[in-house]
Structure formats: structure tokens, C-alpha cells
């Protein structure tokens, strides 16, 4: 009689090939979906919520961010009011008849700071043709 000396264990083999395919698909999905934040956006900016709004016209927009402490940020850099006016002059000259300014002001900032930016845009030597406020849609 044959006496078995070793207990035969059945090993379970896991096919990793399919899982690698799935993981690569997930990686591709996240790499495509992830958007690198634009320099125009200011970290921590809370925009007002509105019902009537439209998609931002990307063509030729100059974005002026007004933070909650009232400071102006253009292109990721803090600017003073005279510097903002200089930027607007250069921008308007480079975009005749289509200079548009988008003011992304924090909802908590006092109106006096936004008014300064609006007045800068309204200077007669700066030909700004369109002004709009950045906002978020109200979830209905």
C-alpha cells in the first residue's frame, strides 16, 4: 500500500494580466480627466452663486481676481491699482474692439475693492468693451 508522505496542496493561481489592463485603463482615465489648474484661478476664491449665467467666453478674456482681502491678482501675480491700469492699457491695445475683462471677485470681499477694478476698466483711455463677473451656477 502506498503511504502518501506529502499532502498535496492545490495552489490557486491568480491571473494578473487582466487586472493590469484594468489598472492601466483607470490610470489613463484619471490622466485625461485631471485638469491642471489654470494660472487665472486663485486658490480659495469663493465665487457668488447666480441663476442666470453663461459659459465663459474663453477668447481674449483678461481675468482679474479679487481675493477676500481685497488684493488684485492678474495672471497669478498680485498687482496694485496703477499696475492693473497699465495691464489693462496694454491688453486693450493688443485686443482692439474685443477687449473683455472677467472679474472673479470673492463673494465676501467688500464692494469698494471691486468698484476700483470696475473704475479702472471704465477709464476712457482704456477701451474695454465688455465686463463680466465670475460666478457659479446655483444647483437646482
Amino acid at each position: 500500500m502506498r503511504i502518501p508522505t506529502e499532502k498535496r496542496t492545490r495552489t490557486t493561481r491568480l491571473a494578473m494580466t487582466s487586472m493590469i489592463d484594468v489598472v492601466f485603463l483607470l490610470i489613463s482615465f484619471f490622466m485625461i480627466v485631471t485638469e491642471i489648474s489654470r494660472q487665472d484661478d486663485l486658490e480659495g476664491l469663493e465665487l457668488p452663486h447666480v441663476v442666470v449665467s453663461k459659459a465663459i467666453d474663453e477668447l481674449g478674456n483678461l481675468v482679474v481676481c479679487v481675493a477676500s482681502d481685497g488684493s488684485c491678482v492678474v495672471g497669478g501675480e498680485a498687482v496694485t491699482l496703477p499696475q492693473l491700469i497699465d495691464i489693462l492699457i496694454v491688453y486693450a491695445r493688443g485686443n482692439p474692439d474685443k477687449a473683455a475683462v472677467l472679474i472673479k471677485a470673492d463673494r465676501r470681499v467688500e464692494y469698494r475693492h471691486v468698484r476700483e477694478v470696475i473704475r479702472a476698466c471704465a477709464e476712457h483711455r482704456i477701451k474695454i468693451w465688455r465686463l463680466s463677473f465670475g460666478a457659479l451656477p446655483i444647483e437646482t
Binding site: I27, V51, S53, I56, A135
Partner: protein, 149 residues
């Protein structure tokens, strides 16, 4: 000499590619993207009136009838400010009331197209209130909107 069948053939060793570390790297990348990714709502824009500075136009047009909307902070409501909105000398304290007043005014024939609405916020009101006022005006159909100079 050994018979041909007894000679051991030299076989090139097979190159084995171990996939285990690659799976670890892939999982790390996946976790990085899952943690680092943030979903956000796309920003939108609301058209704002652009005050025109400079000399008045040569062609004189008849002045439009005006509706003044002034925005104030209710006294004693800091640090959580509450609005006090005065529409054509009629004070209201909620946005729903303001919207109702504007909608009733807009129901007058041709009012929304011919009336000029001037928004006069105090310096210390939050920007949110100004944008909300603009939003209500757009919703009720007013086309001539301006900020107080």
C-alpha cells in the same frame, strides 16, 4: 566522443520579467491621481454694466426713467451681515422680496426695456449681494443697468 544525443545543448537562459513591482508602481500612481484629483464646477460669467467715463455723447437722447436700488448692511448684524435693500425708496430685507418688487415693476408694459436701473451699493456690502442683484435684474428682464458713479 559522446554521442550527439548525450550532449547537453546550451540553451540561452530565458529572461523573466517580474510584473509584481510594476503593479505596485501602477497602484501608487493610481492612488496619487485619485487623491490629487478634485472635481469642480466650471466657472460661469454674468454680464456686468461697464460705466463709461469721458465726455458725454454728442447726440442727446431723452433720459430714461430710473429705478434706484441701494444696498446696505443692516445695522447690528455684523459679523454676519444681513442685507437691507431699498428699491425705489421701498425697503426690503430679503432677496425674495426684492425679486418680487422687481418682477412687479417689470410687469408694467415696456418697463423692463425702457427703465434704467441704477445699483448703488454701500462700500462695505459684500460683492455677493451686488452679483445677486444683477442676477435678479437679468432674471426679471431689465436691460438698462448701471452702477452708481
Amino acid at each position: 566522443m559522446k554521442p550527439l544525443g548525450d550532449r547537453k545543448r546550451t540553451v540561452a537562459p530565458l529572461v523573466e520579467l517580474s510584473l509584481t513591482p510594476m503593479i505596485d508602481v501602477v497602484f501608487l500612481l493610481l492612488i496619487f491621481f485619485m487623491v490629487g484629483m478634485r472635481f469642480r464646477v466650471d466657472d460661469r460669467e454674468l454680464a456686468a454694466p461697464l460705466p463709461r467715463a469721458g465726455p458725454p455723447p454728442t447726440v442727446q437722447t431723452p433720459p430714461l426713467p430710473e429705478i434706484w436700488i441701494s444696498l446696505h448692511v443692516q445695522e447690528g448684524t455684523r459679523p454676519n451681515p444681513q442685507p437691507r435693500i431699498v428699491i425705489d425708496q421701498l425697503p426690503v430685507t430679503t432677496w425674495a422680496q426684492a425679486h418680487g418688487v422687481l418682477a412687479r415693476l417689470a410687469q408694467m408694459p415696456g418697463a423692463a426695456e425702457t427703465y434704467r436701473v441704477i445699483i448703488a451699493p454701500d462700500d462695505d456690502v459684500p460683492h455677493d449681494w451686488v452679483v445677486t442683484t444683477l442676477d435678479h435684474l437679468h432674471r426679471t428682464g431689465y436691460t438698462h443697468i448701471a452702477f452708481k458713479q
